[in-house]
Symmetry: C2
Subunit: 393 residues, 2 copies
């Protein structure tokens, strides 16, 4: 169950012919109301794709009736023709659903710098529109089809649900396997809820949730041009959610999807959680953990089941004093529970570290304060190189 | 020819038994005078190795009589025992050469977090001391042996010479194949000259040269804890060099060594020059080019001979407006001479780009000013992953 788990939403996933593989490649999630409140977080990449430029306009009033997503092309760096394609796609969705094009979000994912085929897109929207009018459009199967249609190099769809005892539900779907490193947002994520909340409340909850979930996933250090996380509220449960309880459940759902994205990252053989403890500030803990997550030497060592903690500290040392306070010779490092370095000197033998499990924990203690943060990353593998060199994606 | 090309220098490379391979692993370069002026640039990594901490003290008076370098261990994160090892090594060299230990630079390279074997080090220093007293210690062969002794995963020694018509010479050797990304300095480099220059003049020339050479090499984004570039002047030519002419020759020699390092980077199959043109400032050009050089997706695409210019622009877009001025929709990209993107839209077909040669040129025009810079990097290959995962280094 995912986006159709909350009441008031219909979904469809169809084959528009945009993907060379011939699989599902176009999804629509329709908010049946009564509310059309929404919030979004977009990539902070300055090179924003046309669907981002369009959707930013849509969000000016916080109202969203539907979201259309395609794989098979990012529609980024495609100029005015590309923007017209996005606009026309929104208009086609509006025609099918009887809503305003100005309330239709558009998301695209795939190769940058190639025009999308508008004929295929509009035909796909027509098919999806038919599917949305069927009785099964609010079923779990329809949600699954939508989750499948947004996959690119993903090997499995990502879905999650949170059900509140207060009577409201949150559902979500996500795609993303490469270019997994966020600015403010990351990858394509659609989250639905039947709770009654204003757009401003949704926005606050979404920013709180993404800040500690999607924004802390840094699989390969590469930020996408198309990242969008959207949250649509139908209000169909009739229940006014407590904002704090909603934010907590939303954060849990986003964490669930984040770990699914990490577990399916391109070519990865390890899921690595890098936790920085006792930093002077949470932002400094994030900075230090992110530096380690972006060290190719560290990531390659993990792939080779090599607990090379020197590469951890070499990455930590690249952070300037202005960006994080610490004494470089008073840092502890533990890998999978073995304290390999204490106060900047070797402690337990590195041979004790078992890196054969997929899950890897690296804990860095800065002894500089009381704040902490975790960044989730992956190892650097032959398969990552292969997947990202063997074809354009 | 390298460090023994200028008059007034002797060199030796011996086997101390620090490397598992049993190859040459300890080098000494001795400045025979009459001058002992010197300059150094050290890594800006805050996690500095013990030899760096020692050598920074040596440089307080700008006088250096000799430099000793070992492979087979970085002596980093080895605490007070490690510092004592560095100190004892300098004392051993001083004993052998009849100089002050406070005038002996120490450099180490290899695995972080392991103690060096002091017995092997001092025995190696003794052997090198004997070699330095032989008639052949000022020969090209002695310089070559020193260049070989500092190799780690390097497949070949790196040497360069510049001869001035004014009567002075500069020679240099370098090692480095991984962790190739500088702060202020990079890798281990020893440069010698017989020109007459003060330590302050040497320092100015070295900073000018490294800023546009070693500091612009960013093979894998990983900054070392041990990087040292040293410049020793014997004054043996008796010729007072014109500082500007000397800096120009020194820069040319450093560029030569930089490109040798790039060409031998671990596992690389392409040498990529990323040039940013028409930036608002040189520093902004460097920032933009460096961001592209650190995109694993871009680097993997180059390995796959895929001119994926979207990944270039996605990396450019990660730079904030505070760090570089540009309009993201008015950027041109050319790869190996083919203008694949003009003003943010597709231009020439990407199929026209031939990426089969090892040398790759990426030119990014920001249309934001008149400054420019080039960063040299490599592709991300299966062999890079293999070399950095299969063993500790």
């Amino acid at each position: 169950m995912s986006v159709t788990a909350p009441t008031g939403f219909a979904a469809a996933g169809v084959t528009a012919g945009l993907k060379k593989s011939g699989g599902l490649d176009l999804a629509i999630v329709s908010n049946l109301g009564p509310l059309a409140n929404a919030a979004t977080v977009f990539t902070s990449n300055r090179c924003k794709a046309n669907p981002i430029l369009w959707s930013q306009q849509v969000m000016s009033d916080g109202q969203v009736s539907a979201i259309v997503l395609n794989s098979g092309g990012a529609n980024c760096y495609t100029g005015t023709i590309g923007f017209q394609t996005t606009h026309a796609t929104a208009e086609a969705v509006a025609d099918q659903l009887g809503v305003s094009a100005g309330d239709v979000l558009v998301c695209s994912t795939g190769l940058i710098g190639e025009q999308l085929d508008l004929g295929k897109l509009t035909a796909g929207v027509f098919d999806a529109g038919l599917a949305l009018k069927s009785d099964t459009a609010i079923s779990a199967e329809a949600g699954l089809a939508a989750a499948q249609a947004i996959m690119t190099t993903d090997t499995k769809p990502k879905q999650a649900v949170q059900v509140s005892p207060a009577g409201w539900t949150i559902g979500g779907m996500a795609k993303g396997a490469g270019m997994l490193a966020p600015g403010l947002a990351t990858m394509l994520v659609v989250i639905t809820t039947d709770a009654v909340l204003t757009s401003a409340q949704l926005d606050a909850a979404l920013r709180e949730a993404t800040r500690v979930t999607f924004d802390r996933l840094d699989s390969d250090g590469c930020m996408s041009t198309n990242d969008t996380v959207s949250l649509l509220a139908s209000g169909a449960s009739g229940v006014e959610a407590d904002p704090a309880a909603f934010a907590a459940a939303l954060t849990e759902l986003c964490r669930d999807l984040t770990l699914q994205l990490q577990g399916d990252a391109e070519g990865a053989s390890h899921d690595v959680a890098i936790s920085v403890r006792n930093a002077a500030a949470e932002s400094e803990a994030v900075t230090v953990a992110r530096a380690v997550s972006r060290s190719n030497l560290f990531k390659a060592a993990i792939y080779g089941n090599d607990p090379n903690w020197g590469r951890v500290l070499a990455a930590v040392g690249t952070i300037s004093e202005a960006d994080a306070a610490f004494d470089p010779y008073n840092i502890d490092v533990a890998i999978n529970g073995i304290q390999v370095c204490t106060a900047g000197e070797p402690d337990q033998p590195r041979d004790l570290v078992d890196l054969t499990p997929r899950a890897v924990s690296v804990v860095i203690d800065l002894h500089a304060g009381t704040a902490g943060a975790t960044i989730w990353t992956n190892d650097l593998t032959h398969d990552y190189v292969e997947e990202n060199s063997a074809y354009s994606s």
